[in-house]
Symmetry: C2
Subunit: 438 residues, 2 copies
């Protein structure tokens, strides 16, 4: 149903502007500069030419079919334009413009929606930051981001979506599609789950929602979804719930009800923005594992202990190494290494030691937490080899890297490039293991 | 007592090496390159010259007084060298070398310590990553860091210290002194608290400890300390406590006892590595506040709501704005802004709006949380003005910036340069407000 929204062959930018300070210019420019390969039609009553493209005075003037309309015009003009989309047969619209329900103009939003429904037009927004499908090279949003990844980001808050997008850029892992849901007048979390469940470029759905329109439909869609879903939903406190109502006119609902819905449908709930990103990043590349036995291999004893507290207090088992394993390990590591779990290779650790210890202890654990707490060269190559071995046997490897300066930056970038997520603290990596297990 | 340790006029590097791959080279080089203005004496039985400095075969051969000895030689040679320090009258030693208590060699550590005590030598380590006093331009550690700041970092884990140091570099706020405590054979958390309580360059002490040697002394020292103390202490779970014993032979003790000690002595306890850094960064520049009323000013409604949940569930009051205040605000912000708390300026927000709203609502709140959720130019200048006004009246301002791309990077760097800490998510900023209040 939303194929034309996210994979259009032609896009009209309604409210395209020649003024570089205006959003109607930025979005047109980003669609062009992002490398969109379909037809692009700037629409503006003034006509003329913008960024080398002919401007149409109305979408009606466009000869060919238009799949998607991106709308950036004053709110009160939107209903008229929607009628034109209906006449033209456009079936998908992203309305960036604000000033609808969120500003007290419920009637205007209802009017817009009535026209959309009557004409079979699906609507994202209004009051949103657009969409960006990196795999279709369609950045109908800002800033311009083109790095292809596996995470579908869908959010009722433009800022939350932008923060996730920015972090995924910094990490060099990118996202598949970015969707700013805005007022969710039509397309909502259920549509998103249904669409991205089937999207060939998406491995995980990261959702920020302030309210769920229809709990039953949400649970059904989540249960049927073929991809993991990670959700951040605020409004846990009474004041938070009230603010939700002011912000997007959503109903936060009772938090216990939402929590139960998540459990029932296998949705992973993030407790904060960092968890939303971490868990999405983890599920994009890693799988769950059988059993509860976790082995920590580290160059930093302290970091290992910080991880233990998170793992053990969440039902995972940082088992004690037995004498047989210790005897095997003793031949692989320096005399001063600690052979209990966490296996502490100390500051002299080399990437090779991680690999050797991993191989020797492979049968003993269901999941491995590798913590690099020093500037350890070659870490990425070792982890790439380790991850391949683990994957074959259905075991999970999670990596944390910290305190490693310039070498850390290089090795982490290399791991991310190879599809191995790395987390900046032992606790965040440990929480990821807990989430993968759940 | 530890003045000669952290502010020496002369330093001997015992185990200085000409081999760039060895720590004995790195540390000597970092002391030189860091700009240490006192005398530097490389010591190595081979003699010769390293990095342009004359090498002495023994510290006994040095004619002048030596304040501090940094020791990087095999563990078994350490006692002999300690005797030499005694003869020479050196009163402070940092022992980098590992292979003592942590490796099962309790006797060697006892022997070293007996010599130290007999000769009145204070010892940091062994098994540590050295010290770095940026204000004295003394980097007897690695990597070379010279950025002067206000946070004293002291840690039983070299990696934890290194991670904090690295983050403080990235943020451009630096640290005052970095102390890797290692095995804590002599200098421990109590000495650290006592020394940095008086250190003119330190505003806050960030501690990572796995155990506290003497609970009563810890409480006494913390109570008397003139600076805020933030502590991260793992070993909360049974397995965590056991790992603490393996790692640094510390006794984790009962967590409830430590928690009570912290409460009793006003120590702020961090729950994880990020909190340790965030809280230290906050206390280095911000003060607590009277009252509980928090006003959130944001360009991102969603971010505001994420912050509310943290604030309200921790005893702070995100009060509702009254009609009088709303009437004042209405003249300062766009019509579609939301005037409830959080005051949501929406994506059109300008830095000037933050300043105007802050001024208009100044009397209504005890603390302000400013969230910039868009690329808002001039944010830094507005926040600098806001912070100055707030400071005069004993009110606290905490800032979060996210989803703002390149402009975010620039504005945040500017704020950090001006001594205004900025936090990367609304939840982390909110937790900082909670910690400041406690």
């Amino acid at each position: 149903m939303l194929r034309k929204m996210f994979y259009p062959e032609s896009v009209a930018v309604i409210g395209a502007s020649a003024d570089p300070r205006k959003l109607g210019h930025t979005i047109l420019k980003n669609i062009i500069d992002g490398g969109f390969s379909g037809k692009i039609y700037p629409i503006n009553p003034k006509g003329g030419e913008i960024l080398g493209l002919k401007v149409y005075q109305s979408i009606i003037d466009v000869q060919d079919d238009v799949d998607l309309a991106v709308i950036i015009i004053p709110a009160k003009l939107v209903p008229g334009v929607m009628e034109e989309l209906g006449k033209k047969g456009v079936k998908a619209a992203v309305i960036i413009t604000g000033g609808f329900r969120e500003a007290g103009n419920e009637e205007l939003e209802e009017q817009m929606l009535e026209i959309a429904k009557r004409n079979g037009i699906r609507v994202i927004g209004p009051n949103c930051q657009g969409i960006n499908n990196t795999h279709h090279q369609l950045c109908a949003s800002w800033p311009l981001i083109t790095l292809k990844g596996r995470i579908a980001i869908a959010s009722q808050s433009g800022t939350v979506a932008a923060a996730l997008a920015q972090w995924s850029q910094n990490d060099g892992i990118g996202f598949s599609t970015f969707v700013s849901l805005g007022n969710k007048s039509d397309v909502d979390e259920v549509d998103i789950i249904q669409f991205f469940s089937e999207d060939e470029n998406t491995a995980v759905i990261a959702l920020y929602v302030e309210g769920v329109k229809d709990g039953r439909r949400f649970i059904e869609a989540a249960k049927r979804c073929k991809k993991p879903i990670v959700v951040l939903k605020p409004g846990v406190t009474e004041r938070g719930a009230k603010a939700v109502e002011s912000h997007t006119k959503s109903m936060a609902g009772k938090d216990v009800v939402f929590e139960a819905a998540c459990r029932q449908s296998g949705v992973v709930r993030a407790k904060n923005l960092e968890e939303l990103y971490d868990f999405a990043k983890a599920f994009a590349y890693l799988k769950t594992f059988g059993g509860e036995r976790v082995l920590i291999i580290t160059s930093s004893g302290g970091s290992g202990i910080l991880a233990i507290d998170v793992l053990e207090s969440n039902g995972l088992n940082v088992f004690e190494t037995d004498e047989k394993l210790k005897a095997k390990l003793r031949e692989l590591v320096p005399a001063h290494a600690i052979l209990d779990n966490p296996i502490d290779l100390t500051g002299d650790a080399t990437a090779e030691m991680y690999l050797n210890v991993f191989k020797a202890s492979f049968d003993y654990a269901d999941a491995f937490l590798l913590i690099f707490g020093d500037p350890i060269e070659g870490a990425a190559n070792a982890v790439i080899e380790i991850s391949e071995i683990a994957k074959k046997e259905g075991k999970t490897v999670v990596v944390s890297f910290l305190g490693g300066g310039e070498i850390e930056r290089e090795e982490v970038a290399k791991m991310h490039k190879h599809g191995i997520p790395v987390f900046p603290t032992p606790e965040r990596a440990a929480k990821v293991l807990v989430a993968l297990k759940r």
